[in-house]
Symmetry: C2
Subunit: 374 residues, 2 copies
C-alpha cells in the first residue's frame, strides 16, 4: 500500500491524495460504505461502484462468526466471495465485541466473548484478528485495540492506550502477508495529551496508516475535534489517517479540515433503510404525509439513479408498503449523497478553497436545519 | 393493441406471435413478472428488463387501496410512477377480493369488501374496475369476473359464468380509453362444456384478448389441461390467450402446447424470497447445509447475473444472514429461469419442434425430481 498526498489546503489540515492498493486506487478524502456481512446492505457491488465508492469496509467480527473466515478463504477470499473487485478495509472486530457489553471479558491476552448469534464462546487476540483478516484477504487490516466508552477516567484511558500499543506491536509481528496493509489505532479517550502519547507509541512501532478510534462515542463534538486537532499534526504526511465510525455530513467536512483522509459509517445506509434521506437542505422523512403526492425527487440537485427516476410519492409508497425496493432506492440515494460530498470535498481541497467550502457547507446545513424546525 | 401470430406448431396448439401495445411489443408466449404494489419485488425496472421481461403485471386491488389509483393518475400513471417504460397488464382486482374470504360479499351489482390493510369498506363494480385501470393507464385491462373455488358444483360454475358474462358486457360499455386493450375472462370451473359456453358468450361481446380464469386453483392438473383443450380451439387466432396465475415451469410448457400465449405467476419471485431456486435439474433450497461450502453457481447452465457472479456458498450466507441482497439475487435468478424458458419455448415453436421440446423438457424435469428424491 502506498499513499501520495496530492494537494493540501493552505489554511487548514485538509488534504487530498491517493491510496494505491492491490485492488486499485482510492482518492482521498474517502468515505467507505459499510459491508458488514459481506454485502453493502441492499445493493449489488456494481451499484455500489456506480455511486462512486472506491473502497468498502468489511466487519471481521460478523464475517468471523458467519460464514467464517476459513470458509471465505476457501472460496477465494472476501473480494471474490462477495464479487467486489475494489479495495476492502477490514476492522479488527474489537469494536463490535466491546459493544457486546456483558458478553465479553478483556485481558492482556485478548478478548473472550460470546456470539450474538448463538451464544457460543470465542476468543480474539491481536494475533488471531490478523490471522482472520489475512484469511479474508482485505487490502487494509486494522490492529486490535481497546476501545473505551465516553465518559472514561484518565486512568482508564491511559490503561487502554497502553494495552492498545502492546496489542498493536503483537499484531505487527504476527502478520505474514505483507501485501495487506496494517493500520494502528490511536486511543486516549478525550485527553489530548494521552492521544498524543498513543500516537507516539504507534509511530514508534510503525504502521502503513494511522486510525483514530474511540471518538464519536457520545462525547460532545468539540471534544472530538479538539482531540483530532491534537493528534493529526503528529502523523506523517505520507501515511493515510482514518477516523473510525464517523459520521454525519458535517462531521466529515469538519474532520477533513483537521487532516482526516478516510471515513466509514453506517449512517447513510442505516438511515436509508429507516426512510431518512439526506439532502443539502432538510433531512427527508420519506414516510411523512407531506410526501404523499409529491411528484418531485428527494433532491432535485442530486444525480443519483433514485432522484433521476423516482418521485417522493413513489418512494413513500414503497416505504409504507414495506417493499424491498424502498431499501434499495433509499440506500442508493444516501450513499450517493455521501460519496458526492466526498467528491466535492476533494475538488475544493484540490482547488485550494476548502476553507471557504467548509464555511458555506456548514451554513447551508445550519440554515436548512432552521427551516426544518420552523 | 394488435396481435400477430408468427408461427404455429404443426403437431399441437403451440404458437408464437407478437402483441403490439402503446408501450412496445411483446413476443409470445410471454411470462409476465408480477409487480403487485407497483414494483416487481426486490428489483429495479432496469433489472427486470435486463432479464428479458417485456411486460409486467400490476395488481389493481393493491394499487387501488395503496397508494390509490387517483394518486397514481395524478403522478402521470403507473408506467411513470414506477419507472417501467414497457407494457403493463392490470388485473381487475377480483381475484384478490375473492381470496379475502369472509371479508367480501358478491351481488350482481359488484363486490363489497374490506381492505386487508385497515378494514375499511369498499365496493368494486365492473364499471369501477375499468375506471381504476384507466386511471392506472395500463396497456391491457382485465374485466371483472367471478372466480369460483375448486371444487364447485355445476350450478355454481354456471351461475358464476353467467354473472361473469354480464359483468364483461358492462366493463366493455363503460370503457372510455380505447388505446387500453380490454380482455374478457372465461370461467366455467372444470366443466368443459361450461368453459365453451363461457367462451362463446364472451366472443359474442368481443374483446381484444381472452383470458382463462379460475384454473390452477387446486384442481388436478389433468382437469386444467382438459378444460384448456376444450376452450382454446374456440378462440380466434388473431387474439392473444392469457392463462391467469399459472404456473410451474412444467405448467407453462404444457399450456403453451394447448395454445396459451400469456402467463403470470408469483411463483418465481415468491420462491426466490423463500430461498427456493429453479434449475432444469433439482430445485435448490439455498439454506441447506449442502450449499455451505459449494463454490459453484446455482446453475452452471444459467446466464443470469447471479449465476455468473456468485456461488451457492455466498447466496446461502446472504440468505441465512437475512440480507436484502439475498432477495435481489435470488429473484434475478428465478425470473431469468422463467424468462429464458419462454425464450426457449418461442424458439422451439418458431423452428417447428415444440412437440419434441416439450417431451424432452418434461423428461428432464421428471428425472431431476427422481434424483432429488433419492
Amino acid at each position: 500500500m502506498d499513499f501520495t498526498q496530492i494537494a493540501k489546503d493552505p489554511h487548514c489540515g485538509a488534504r487530498t491524495g491517493k491510496i494505491a492498493t492491490p485492488h486499485g486506487e482510492v482518492a482521498t478524502p474517502a468515505f467507505m460504505p459499510v459491508g458488514t456481512q459481506g454485502t453493502v446492505k441492499a445493493l449489488t457491488p456494481e451499484q455500489v461502484r456506480a455511486l462512486g465508492a472506491e473502497i468498502i469496509l468489511g466487519n471481521t467480527y460478523h464475517l468471523y462468526l458467519r460464514p467464517g473466515h476459513r470458509l471465505i478463504a476457501a472460496q477465494g477470499g472476501l473480494h471474490r466471495f462477495m464479487n467486489w473487485q475494489g479495495p476492502i478495509l477490514t476492522d479488527s472486530g474489537g469494536f463490535q465485541i466491546y459493544s457486546l457489553g456483558t458478553l465479553r471479558t478483556i485481558t492482556d491476552e485478548g478478548v473472550d466473548f460470546q456470539s450474538h448469534i448463538d451464544g457460543s464462546s470465542h476468543f480474539l487476540s491481536p494475533e488471531s484478528t490478523v490471522e482472520i483478516q489475512e484469511a479474508l484477504g482485505s487490502d487494509i487490516m486494522m490492529c486490535l485495540d481497546e476501545c473505551i466508552p465516553y465518559p472514561a477516567t484518565r486512568d482508564e484511558a491511559e490503561a487502554a492506550l497502553g494495552r492498545t500499543a502492546r496489542w498493536a506491536a503483537r499484531c505487527k509481528s504476527s502478520r505474514r502477508n505483507h501485501s495487506q496493509a496494517l493500520f494502528g489505532i490511536i486511543q486516549g479517550g478525550v485527553y489530548p495529551d494521552l492521544r498524543r502519547l498513543s500516537a507516539e507509541s504507534l509511530l514508534e512501532i510503525g504502521f502503513d496508516g494511522y486510525a483514530l478510534g474511540g471518538l464519536s462515542v457520545g462525547e460532545p463534538k468539540e471534544l472530538m475535534l479538539e482531540n483530532l486537532a491534537a493528534t493529526t499534526p503528529l502523523l506523517p504526511e505520507n501515511r493515510p489517517r482514518y477516523l473510525m465510525g464517523v459520521g454525519t455530513p458535517e462531521d466529515l467536512v469538519d474532520c477533513v479540515y483537521h487532516g482526516i483522509d478516510m471515513f466509514d459509517c453506517v449512517m447513510p445506509t442505516r438511515s436509508a433503510r429507516n426512510g431518512l434521506l439526506f439532502t443539502n437542505g432538510e433531512k427527508v422523512v420519506i414516510k411523512n404525509a407531506r410526501n404523499r403526492e409529491d411528484g418531485s425527487p428527494i433532491d432535485s440537485a442530486c444525480d443519483c439513479y433514485t432522484c433521476l427516476n423516482y418521485s417522493r410519492a413513489y418512494l413513500r409508497h414503497l416505504y409504507v408498503a414495506g417493499e424491498i425496493l424502498a431499501m434499495v432506492l433509499n440506500t442508493i440515494h444516501n450513499l450517493r449523497y455521501y460519496l458526492r460530498l466526498m467528491e466535492r470535498i476533494r475538488e475544493a481541497v484540490r482547488e485550494g478553497r476548502y476553507w471557504d467550502f467548509r464555511k458555506r457547507f456548514l451554513k447551508e446545513r445550519k440554515d436548512a436545519e432552521v427551516i426544518g424546525l420552523e
